[in-house]
Amino acid sequence: MLPDPVVLFFLLGLAARLARSDLRIPEPLYEALSLYLLIAIGLKGGVELARHPLGALAPQVAGIVALGVVTTLLAFAALRGLGRLARADASSIAGHYGSVSVVTFAVAVSWLAARGIAHESYMAVFVAVLEVPGIVVGIALARTGGSARVAWGKLAHEVLLGRGIVLLVGGLAIGWVAGPEGAKPLQPMFGDLFKGVLAFFLLEMGIVVGRQAGDLRRAGFFLPAFAIAAPLAFGLLGAWAAHRLGFSPGGATIVATLAASASYIAAPTAMRIAIPEASPALSLAAVLGVTFPFNITIGIPLYHRMAVALAG
């Protein structure tokens, strides 16, 4: 099967940047597109959520939170133990990997849809749920034993009221209240156009990733290796956890993708403020330069295989 056209747009952006094309997406448009994606993902999840009893979701939500905490701790142990990174850098990068990438999630959903593979349709809930634990654990890891105090109140405000959580949770709530019928008028805007906007957004992501190339060259051997090994290990862990939590193979593919993905919107901002001594160039080279492109091209099909194999 041919690669998803949205991924081809990503490769176009990447190639254009590496060839030093002057292609540039203005920042306000990038921001508008990312707001759109968050609302659309939240809304769709909320509408589907309206068809499910909320209480039944609790064990899955708890399991997914635990997954986010475990992947952050594992990433920290690997970065500190194997990579010999400074505590600040190791905790910051671990926080990025514990959190999730909304766009990677969108690509996974689109990949499943193109193949007609069914999945639990309320998965957007877990995107919102998984954004936070990695960031919190990462910051806590940086501060244990350190003398600097963390302004947790300020930080909670930054993370919980960042546009990611506000629009995802807000979209979920609106979709849930409106229900399938009520949300129907929004479908042309937030449903039908979704894939086109995703393609546009991925074009920009290609340019951003291409810009990491320089930092990546300076990062040495360990970090790029980690940026591929971590999503593979966490993808497997996520697929296994999802299988145990009763997800379908399609749903498990998404959970695995979420576990394997690393945040490049919420986490970098939070980490920059909470762990100033950590190098942002290092974490972004790993997250954007390696893990994000790896996940959307090679990772997602691989996580699907893992999920199918586990389902037996």
Partner: protein, 101 residues
Amino acid sequence: MDTHARKLLVIIAEAALEKTLVEDALRLGAQGYTVHDVRGGGRDGERTASWDGDRNIEVKVIATAAVAEAITAHVLATYCPNYSVSMFLADVAVLRPEKFT
């Protein structure tokens, strides 16, 4: 025309610092501020303002020499060790001194 001498303090920094820089400036006595989105490059690399993690801001404050120096000292001690910051002071003349104490 009556003019009064004041200092213009310009701080160019990562966008992540916007909120705290503005809070600090006001707390240290600035009466107002202006923020622009900017892009540029320097010793710490290039900032093209194409996405969140890559944005820079320029904060401008006009204040008395004492206030401007207090803000400068605070920024030097608090942010310069770990963040990319460019900062400079210039002499300016204002028409309404009560706005810029």
